[in-house]
Subunit: 346 residues, 4 copies
């Protein structure tokens, strides 16, 4: 049994990590940190975990933390992650970091979108933890940067096209819609039930969302050329789920290609990526509670554009599920352990 | 008091017409037809109307219908409208038709997207009932074709740009999200609570939604050149509301223009169009229950694209509210009568 | 035009007062106070009010407040109301207070459930503002204590039975369910979308909710004997609406009576109380956005119990709508002015 | 690997059975019947099951059905179950029936609430499949009658009290609230999203819901005396979840007892019943997607009443999860296999 710790257990990614890990036969959750709830059982903070998770929240000084587990998830805000991860690595632990701090390979880009990076030397070592793209590297990683939720939905949806030169990358427009759990669990008026329920709205429109550099980094690598995208996030009145609707103009190669076959082939052996039958469309309610990413492609012959759609559960494949998938790879467990539950519907 | 009839009162646009008309001081709702609920008070079919609406549903032969009111709303499916409207006009009545049957000026385009048109002679007479564009014509109309919900949200959002040549029309991509009332009140598994709630999905992707010819007709007129758009509708887990996120590449003129000032100026005197302060973004929960259309423009300087967003209540400004606005214009009532209620929030 | 002020305009009852008053032809909203949003247009705090409400939030010292309006709504928390209302009255203004501070006639009971009362002399003067019970007194009141949301739903539902001795008051059990707007607009984790959505839970179970003394005061007056009730509130995943399900054992007189006729008769001329046809059941979605209270009675012959059900919109008839109804009565306006809008459905 | 069949796989209990069974290591789902979707993969009917469930829907004549599996779930409407179950038993198969047909021990009571019973001889053999009460009997059963959703929530909540004589059974009032999945997947206007969302309503008030005889049967057995209850179901705007709020007057023994200790003791070793810490209250969002039943007791000293609250997921512990729990018991698998997943939150 590997001893696992969650640093920052009292947010929505923390409770979801604990939920998933409770069904993982090869690990034991030995430590969960929370400043706010120190001393309280995690199952009292999140009563869904009662009789399933017995860890007590602690507010530990870093030096005590490292002795308490063999593997760590850091589920803390960016900047805070940068302050903790180097110490965990120095103590010989492996880490999956769920923040943005180690996702951007180029420190100057990170600093343009976030703030100064205090551990830039780790950026070249950190592996971008999208197993479908970087499985081999994740297996060997000490530090995996768990992808953002929106980027996961976008990169899985477009990489095969970009690699094969089937779309014009300069035409990429990404219209994404996310459930409210993506806003986290801190008390703010904008996330109150009455502000969100029975409504829908865009936010951070016009190229300002911090997931943009992460998306562009990976799409540029796939395209072999710098890619700049239009990305518009929206807030859905649901707790879980991201649906991205992605538009791009097909190249001549793209018009001639069997795109569905390409996707079916690319993701055939992936346990968590489901390329829908031709004509079928994804829905967040069909991936809810699971580590699945559903993909669909539809060609608009009137405009020579392709529309790619992807659906994930933002706190599973978009966060905690993918983090456990990475943990499995980094530690030699079967990649799907604890993650094969089918989505919940209804 | 003008006597008003609703043909097809038992759908969601019917009940909303009845609700709005109940607060209109210059009319009396004298007849409401419904095959299914004939003999039942409309306020029993829709208990929200109790003590406010006293009309009884009837299943009337057309010849009796015409004597019972001076003005008619036809809130029936397309094709059925074509069968009824000519008779009402022939009897000297004015009509606002909420179906698609008289929205498309070119019968061949109508027939390509719908079916044979049995009254093509009325197409040139029918006025497209978007008052902000066609107010003068609506005032004189016998027959007003009430716009579709998606088209209303799109046309108000983009016409000023197209008229002024500020965007490249060939780059128009419209990503729209609608509440479930748009699917109507007929019993179908896909509209069940458990299928829609806590989820989100696209539908009719790739250029197949029947609102496309209507959108393209009006945008082409605005642009002075044929416009073909990409249009993707999605289903929101809310009852009311449409939010359209519209992408287009700015022309050089567009990059140089003060777009916010253009919109503020264009819609300054419109009682129902609200151009948001620069930087503010629309939300369906801020137009809910009202005849308002909220508009916002954000420029993405990284991609030279403009993002225009519009929010309406799909069964008010997108259907019944706009229909009453048209009725007011056609009959010399103040345009805003019965329609000035502020949106509900929360 | 009467000048009206709202003290505490930035909560959900504040925005709803502003929305309703925007449709009231006899008043002008001249002042709205908010510490947090001072200097900001109320329509920027609540964008639903754009182009409908033009008041600017202010943080005014009391002495300036009194000159700015002829009539005041105090929509502030209890205790704060006590500090403001006496000053407004002293300046010759009439007030509808939406807090609990003047609802309880007996200061010692108020103090047992809340805190010390600093203006007990006003308790005998304040009129409990349920117009269906106290219309004549409200007309003459300087200070009206606007009823709580739960009490409104309970008192209208049970008073006719208690007055006529048709139920045994000692058997009264009230199971109430409220929308989340009742929790107010302050940022708290428990009111976040993700905590409330797609769920349901009781709170303050076992006789601890502060609406209990208010309910018992009015039911005791109706019964002519002290009444103690079991009252359990629950939190619904909706923004608006209260449904109370009330159980009581019928007396012999109650078993013999025509209860539906009694209710139909009692509320026949009430514009806002709708006694449903026998067998029909209320639903919060049928009163949403309106000042209506829907009532239904069903007898359970197997247990000799009566079940009374009532539905209101908690921030209209349960707060701001009833407050405007009281304002109308206190100032000689028609009681229904601004309040006759039919509920929204769907 | 035991071969398992689902008769009636295309309803919400069917898809949930398939979802749970997909994670069960000891069985293989070999047959799923559906008249409507015959020939279609079940994962196409319910796309959440893609890449997890590979069974094809079939419309099989009974004689073919029996050869295709060793164990059957019948998830068909009452009456239909009666027609199929005897044949399955006759072929030597074990069955968990999810309908009401074998829950009522007394055929005359069944016939008073439902219709004629065509297999009354099976009623004495059928075991009421609430494992917490009848575990030993279920282990030996050929035919288990899976309890109704409301009865599960009520019986687990009250049996310890009734067995120990701590409440007066004649005072039992049960106010239950259920998610909409309980209404099934058939297309009906009343279950449309727009009819249910953002609302709340009671139904079948006054002693008419068919779960009443089932509740009374089990509570009478627990009390050792005939029990008649008031039971009011309500419809929640959520897909999953039942919360029952149960009122009863304490006997003198009840007032003196440590009720929380009694419950903690009674359910200590139950894997799926969670007695909450004193003062904590259940919430449907804390059992969502799991086989858990959360229980809480609060005493109202003002009225000498006890309020017991229970929360379950109506299609897991209230249907398909409990059915798998019974299957496990009937076949010697560990009782919790496939069922230990923690609830989803948020």
């Amino acid at each position: 049994m590997m001893r696992v710790g969650i640093v920052g257990a009292s947010g929505y990614t923390g409770v979801e990590l604990a939920r998933i890990l409770a069904g993982h036969p090869d690990i034991h959750l030995t430590v969960a940190t929370s400043r706010q709830y120190a001393g309280m059982p995690l199952a009292e903070v999140f009563p869904n975990l009662r009789k399933r998770v017995d860890v007590i929240c602690e507010n530990l000084p870093p030096e005590e933390l490292v002795d308490r587990a063999d593997f760590f998830f850091t589920a803390v805000p960016h900047k805070t992650a940068m302050d903790i991860v180097p110490m965990l690595l120095a103590a010989g632990k492996k880490v999956v970091d769920l923040s943005a701090d180690f996702r951007i390979r180029d420190a100057s880009i990170y600093e343009a979108w976030y703030q100064e990076h205090t551990s830039p030397h780790l950026l070249s070592e950190a592996v971008y933890g999208l197993p479908e793209l970087y499985r081999a590297q994740v297996r060997k990683a000490r530090l995996t940067a768990n992808p953002g939720c929106y980027p996961t939905s976008v990169i899985l949806a477009t990489t095969p096209l970009l690699r094969a030169g089937l779309i014009d990358p300069s035409t990429l427009i990404i219209d994404s819609k996310s459930g409210t759990s993506g806003a986290g669990r801190s008390a703010s008026v904008g996330s109150l039930f009455c502000e969100v329920a029975d409504g829908f709205r865009p936010y951070k429109v016009g190229g300002s969302h911090r997931h943009i550099p992460e998306i562009e980094q990976e799409l540029s690598l796939a395209a072999g050329t710098p890619v700049t995208v239009s990305f518009t996030p929206h807030l859905l009145p649901v707790s879980r789920g991201i649906l991205s609707t992605i538009y791009a103009t097909l190249t001549d190669a793209g018009k001639a290609a069997d795109l569905h076959a390409l996707y079916a082939e690319t993701y055939r052996d992936e346990p968590f990526v489901r390329v829908l039958p031709a004509g079928a469309l994804p829905a967040t309610q069909h991936v809810r509670g699971s580590n699945c990413c559903d993909l669909s492609l539809i060609q608009d012959v009137r405009t020579s554009r392709l529309i790619v759609m992807s659906a994930i559960d933002n706190i599973v494949k978009g966060a905690s599920g993918q983090a456990v998938q990475n943990m499995n790879l980094m530690n030699g467990f079967p990649e799907t352990t604890g993650l094969m539950g089918a989505p919940f519907f209804p």
